[in-house]
Symmetry: C2
Subunit: 105 residues, 2 copies
DNA sequence: CTCAGGTGCAACTCGATAGTTGCACGATGC
DNA sequence: GCATCGTGCAACTATCGAGTTGCACCTGAG
């Protein structure tokens, strides 16, 4: 997959309110799909689908312990996405500064 | 709109390869919809739709100059999204450190 | 005035996605 | 062994989203 498509997949995974809530919960502590149902008012299967999307984007990883699967955050992709957004913002500000400099000369 | 829904809207707007390419282009210089068509191999109307999505998320703003509409980046939302991602990553690392400390005591 | 370039709006197709229900399977506790 | 808890898989609905074509409307240049 191309680098831009991969980036888009990560952002798309972040582009759903329920998934953001799941991610927010997982920031505080790992949890299983059934545990996450309580604060989401959707079914367990829907939660499981969201977790698969998040896992597909590399934002989260699940590991089986006994009969439950605990999902925990995987910060690498989160940081990568944050860094790209910073680059976009910084690049733009730099361009604005260059335009301003040109106008003053 | 709730804060989480708004965040999701921003990330959803970023969750498409063509929109990422548009954003990348706009980082370097403002452009109109028809100008953006050249490096995207989709129609002008599709580009216009993407621009409306980006504008709806507050990532971009268009202003009419003569008979064309120049779109330029709006870094505020970009920075806000980056900051939230940083918070997620930092919060998780902090939790990991706390768990480690607890295990060592 | 006329014509061309740039936008905008509307209707349509089609694949992806969020959500559901129903059921089957493996691991745990008694 | 057996009831149960947590998962996983499959089928289905319905909505959203990306992309297209076609047409109408302004604005600027000759």
């Amino acid at each position: 997959m191309s680098v831009v498509a991969e980036r888009a997949e990560v952002f798309a995974a972040l582009g759903d309110p329920n998934r953001l809530r799941i991610l927010d919960h997982l920031t505080r502590s790992p949890a299983s799909a059934t545990a996450l149902v309580e604060d989401l008012e959707i079914t367990r299967q829907a939660v499981a689908k969201h977790l698969r999307v998040l896992e597909g984007a590399g934002l989260v990883e699940g590991a089986r312990t006994g009969r439950e699967v605990r999902f925990e955050l995987r910060p690498a992709q989160v940081e990568r996405a944050a860094r790209w957004l910073d680059d976009v913002a910084v690049g733009w500000e730099r361009r604005l500064a260059a335009v301003k400099r040109a106008a003053e000369s």
